[in-house]
């Protein structure tokens, strides 16, 4: 099939969003379902259908959401209302909006795990400690399902 000439193609915008908490393993389809649920709940079927949101990239703690030009503010607002991805609590924080994915890739700063320093006990529970830049420390409860996460800093850990 012959592609449409550029002037007749639908104009798109791309929104870069950071996925929180850091280190969360997410599937692109799960992110898409969360975005669609949030957008439909906020703007309704008609407006969401016209905006045509889609998740085109999801890796390294970032997701790129595509939408029609002119609807990017509405979709960014809908992204702010995402509270879970799959069964886990999560948040999407918009970083930038652009007309090309290439421009957004330049804005991606990989969030690298500094070190995993075993485990610690807090109250009755055991947690795995994950350290991130800027002295951020995430504690994930040891277990199989529905583990609790706590968000600390190095200074908080030293106090305990």
């Amino acid at each position: 099939m012959k592609p449409r000439p550029p002037a007749m193609r639908t104009k798109r915008r791309y929104i870069l969003a950071r996925i929180l908490p850091y280190g969360m393993k997410v599937d692109q389809k799960q992110v898409y379902l969360s975005v669609i649920e949030a957008a439909t709940s906020l703007w309704g079927d008609a407006a969401t259908g016209l905006a045509q949101p889609a998740v085109v990239f999801c890796d390294g703690g970032y997701a790129v959401v595509r939408c029609r030009r002119g609807t990017e503010k509405d979709i960014a607002t809908a992204l702010a209302t995402v509270t879970a991805i799959g069964d886990e609590q999560a948040a999407l924080r918009t970083v930038a909006t652009s007309g090309t994915i290439h421009a957004l890739r330049r804005r991606i700063k990989p969030i690298r795990l500094l070190s995993e320093t075993g485990e610690m006990k807090l109250g009755e529970n055991y947690f795995t400690v994950y350290r991130y830049p800027r002295q951020k420390v995430d504690l994930v409860e040891k277990g199989i399902k529905h583990q609790m996460s706590l968000f600390f800093t190095e200074a908080d850990l030293e106090e305990r």
Binding site: A76, T77, A91, K136, F151, F152, T153
Partner: protein, 231 residues
């Protein structure tokens, strides 16, 4: 010579710069994130200060942490008793949970109260034009929390948006201050200032009104008064 006073005229008059403040966060142990971590995230999200319920006084580079306290009471007498207690005296910002119409009318005239919060849980018209006029006279703010907009779905969120739109129409008429809070118990509940603008636009708040509301905590705790001669 290019000085700060030349570049930014408000320096010359000694006016303070407007701080963008998240008017309430609930850190660990009420939530899952410590105050230091929430302050770190808030600084990254574009806030200059936060009000932490129950805690405060922490030093985080580039961010001011204010101590807030929440009063839940059923009568004005109870509120007055609590605001004169040691916990409220130590707090920088005193919040009172909204109640019925007569309660709201009464608490906005209590001198020690800074902000009326939880207005989305109050009955419709619980904060009416009488309370609005009194709040404007006493410079008592009404808090607009982002948490219900983010977390609720369906009719509950519609009701919250209706309440906020109603409060906004009263604010435009009577001019009482508004504050904007994330109401976050976790870093996952905190949102960037840009997203806050988008969420506030849902109930008709303009960019200018959002900026003013984000800066109103500073004006509440340090109200503009005539110059006094100190001897």
């Amino acid at each position: 010579m290019q000085t700060a006073a030349n570049k930014y005229p408000f320096f010359a008059y000694g006016l303070p710069t407007m701080k963008i403040t998240d008017a309430s966060v609930c850190p660990y142990p009420d939530g899952d994130s410590t105050l230091a971590r929430m302050a770190l995230e808030a600084a990254e999200l574009g806030f200059d200060s936060i009000v932490a319920i129950g805690e405060g006084g922490h030093r985080v580079p580039g961010l001011e942490v204010l101590r807030g306290t929440v009063i839940s009471a059923s009568s004005q007498k109870d509120v007055i008793r609590q605001v004169r207690g040691p916990v409220a005296r130590r707090a920088d910002v005193v919040f009172v949970n909204a109640g019925d119409t007569s309660f709201n009318r009464a608490i906005v005239s209590v001198k020690e109260v800074h902000v009326v919060r939880n207005i989305h849980n109050a009955r419709r018209n619980a904060f009416d034009h009488v309370a609005a006029r009194s709040a404007a006279e006493h410079s008592v703010a009404v808090d607009v929390s982002m948490a219900p907009i983010i977390q609720y779905r369906g009719t509950r969120r519609q009701r919250v948006l209706q309440r906020y739109a109603d409060i906004l129409s009263l604010q435009r008429r009577y001019g009482f201050p508004l504050t904007i809070s994330s109401g976050a118990c976790s870093i996952l509940g905190q949102r960037p200032v840009r997203d806050v603008r988008g969420l506030c636009a849902l109930f008709g708040m303009t960019g200018g009104e959002v900026s003013e509301a984000l800066g109103s905590i500073g004006r509440l705790i340090e109200p503009e008064r005539p110059v006094r001669v100190v001897r």
